[in-house]
């Protein structure tokens, strides 16, 4: 469960960084947003499938 907590924190940092960076860069599109969101969802589902 510690691994899941670490990954959850990592995912939050990843998404916040992505939003901040692409907004300031004026490059945030729906496709880019979806790529980050789906990558985050994928890694969380991967680990939850193993641990729960």
């Amino acid at each position: 469960m510690i691994a899941l907590k670490i990954l959850a924190i990592g995912v939050i940092i990843y998404l916040v960084w992505a939003l901040t960076f692409h907004k300031s860069d004026k490059s945030l599109t729906l496709v880019i947003y979806l790529e980050y969101l789906l990558t985050a969802a994928l890694v969380l589902i991967l680990l939850m499938g193993v641990l729960i």
Binding site: I2, A3, L4, I6, L7, G10, V11, Y14, W17, A18, F21, H22, S27, T29, V31, I32, L34, E35, Y36, L38, T39, A40, A41, L42, V43, I45, L46, L47, G49, V50, L51
Partner: protein, 290 residues
């Protein structure tokens, strides 16, 4: 043939390879969700097909427990036949009534099993574990959990009983480990049982009514699970992470060679998250303690 579009960016538009497009990511997410739903369906329709095969030895768990106690300067606990029997009854009851808890849904408490075997304790405790691969993994997991560690290292205990029982729980082949501690020495208090860090005083009426426990023999010798859901999830997880990471690296190399810029999400961020996920998967172990 346009097979290379799946692995490298498009030669004219430089669009990402199909296998790392957002559509592919969505398919991976749906695939892993379907895998978990599939496990639940198989567990329900074909009990015992899924499960973990353990190699846990009852005597080894006692030895490892005493090693941990010795490290803290505590007296070793001695194996007690009545507590062994109580632990076995508890494990059998969890399989029979299909639950994973200290208190059974139909009312049986940890002390029912201990008193039922004739062990008149003044202080007792119970630790549970399921689905670990080895004795060492079980004791390590108990030591990593503060409440279980406190129970294992309690100086009041003199006796121990352990049961390692295989059966089917929630449709999956499961190995349950039940650890019962106790002492019959007089302690200046009413008999109590330590579960999950809480000391529960045994109701006086339970002390005088020896519970009638039905003993059932589990048919566990023929249980042979075909798939270990933990290993299947871990291997497919590693495979997808490796595939995405490799394609991201190829994407960077190809675009650099072509000398083109593409408005896209940042590969370094994806790689960092994928590395964290791979590390977390590596650290993940099966099993749970209660």
């Amino acid at each position: 043939m346009t097979w290379h579009k799946w692995f490298i960016p498009h030669k004219d538009t430089h669009k990402k390879a199909h296998l790392i497009s957002w559509e592919a990511l969505l398919i991976y997410v749906l695939f892993f969700m379907a895998l978990q739903v599939g496990f639940s369906i198989v567990s329900y329709t074909k009990p015992g097909i899924l499960g973990i095969s353990s190699n846990i030895d009852q005597k080894e768990v006692i030895e490892l427990t005493n090693k941990e106690r010795e490290k803290k300067g505590l007296p070793a606990v001695k194996e007690n036949e009545a507590l062994d029997r109580a632990a076995e009854l508890k494990a059998q009851n969890m399989f029979a009534e299909n639950y994973w808890a200290h208190f059974a849904p139909y009312g049986k408490s940890p002390w029912d099993f201990i008193l039922g075997t004739g062990y008149k304790f003044t202080f007792a405790g119970e630790n549970l574990a399921k689905n670990f691969y080895s004795s060492d993994d079980v004791v390590k997991a108990w030591m990593q959990s503060p409440t279980h560690r406190d129970n294992l290292l309690n100086s009041n205990y003199r006796d121990i009983g352990i049961a390692v029982v295989e059966g089917i729980l929630n449709g999956q082949k499961t190995t349950l480990v039940v650890q019962e501690f106790g002492t019959t020495e007089y302690l200046a208090q009413r008999p109590s049982v330590n579960v999950q860090g809480k000391s529960v005083t045994v109701p006086p009426q339970d002390l005088f009514n020896k519970p009638q426990l039905s003993v059932s023999t589990l048919e566990t010798n023929n249980i042979k699970s075909l798939f270990d859901p933990f290993k299947v999830s871990k291997i497919t997880g590693y495979s997808v992470i490796l595939l995405i990471a490799s394609l991201l690296i190829i994407d960077v190399i190809v675009l650099k060679k072509r000398g083109v810029f593409r408005l896209s999400s940042k590969h370094i961020a994806h790689m960092a998250l994928l590395s964290l996920a791979a590390g977390s998967l590596f650290l993940a172990t099966p099993g749970a303690v209660l």
